[in-house]
Symmetry: C2
Subunit: 149 residues, 2 copies
Amino acid sequence: MNISRFTDYSLRVLIYLAAAKETSHIITIKEVAERYQISKNHLMKVVQELSANNHINATRGKNGGIKLNTAPENINIGQLVRSIEQGSTLVECFGKDNQCVITSSCQLKRMFAQAMESFFDCLDQYTLADLIKGENKAELRQVLMIPIE
Amino acid sequence: MNISRFTDYSLRVLIYLAAAKETSHIITIKEVAERYQISKNHLMKVVQELSANNHINATRGKNGGIKLNTAPENINIGQLVRSIEQGSTLVECFGKDNQCVITSSCQLKRMFAQAMESFFDCLDQYTLADLIKGENKAELRQVLMIPIE
DNA sequence: TAAAAGATGCATTTTAAATGAATCTTATTT
DNA sequence: AAATAAGATTCATTTAAAATGCATCTTTTA
C-alpha cells in the first residue's frame, strides 16, 4: 500500500510554507528543494499543481516565490491527499482498463472503496495547522533553516 | 494510492477456492490462472505465500492442487490484506531508508499510520464468506466456469 | 534589458512489481 | 521403477509508473 512521492512532496511544501509563515523571508522552490534535499524538477511540478488548486500562490520573476494562499487551519489533510491521489488505481478494478473477469459479481471494489473512504475520513480530522503546532513549529524552522527574524 | 497486484491476486485465488467449495473437482494453479487470464508464474508465488500462511493447502504431485484450509467465514479480509501488504512503504518515512529531513518533528507519519489503521479496520468487517454470498456464488461459478456437479 | 523567478514539454532514468523460464521436489499412477 | 503431473524455487527479464533531468518559454522587477 503506498502513496506517491508527489503527494508526499506536496505535504512537505505546505509544511515548509506553514512553518515559515509570519516571516518576512521570501521562499522559492529552489530553496525548498535544497532544504529537503529533493529534486527541484519534481518539486516544480508539485508546486504547479498546488498552485493550480489554489492552495499556494506562486509568483514569477525577480523576487518571486511561493506562499500559502489560506491559513493552515483551512487546509485539510484529507481533502488535500484525496485531490492529489484521485485518479490513482487502488486495485485493477478501479482503473480504466480493468480486465478482471469477475468484476460484475465481485464485492471487493465496494469494500475497498469503503476502506479508502475510512482512510481519507481519518485524515479529514487534521489540517495543516496540526502539523506545525506547539514545539513542532520551532523544530521545523530549525531543521529547515528557516530564518526567524 | 495503490495496493499490489500480488494482494489482488491473493484475493482472487481465495474467491475462486471459496466459490468452488463443496465441489468435488480438484483445482490447480494452472486452472485458476487460465480462468482469470493472469500470469501463472505470478500466481504460483501468490499461492506459495497463501500456503505458507496456512490460508490454503497446496499438494504437489499428480492429482495435487490447492484448496481452502479454513471456512471462508474464518478468513478475514482486513487481516489478510494487512499481512500481505505489511512491509510496504506508505510514504518514505515508513521505509527502511527514509531520508526525509523533518522526520523527527513531523506528525504526518502518525496521521498516516492512523489512517491506514482505519482502512484495515474497515476491511476487518468482512470475511471471505461475504464475497461469495447470495447470488454472487452462482455468478462466480459461472464466470469462472467452475463445474457444479 | 538583464536577471531571477516559476511554467511547460519532452526525454531519460529509476525502481518496484510483474512476468517468464528453467529446474527442483513431491506425489501418484501404471 | 518409470512416467507424469502437480507445486516450489531460483534467477532472469520485462513492464509501467513514477521520478528526475534538461531545455526552453514566460513573467516580473530592478
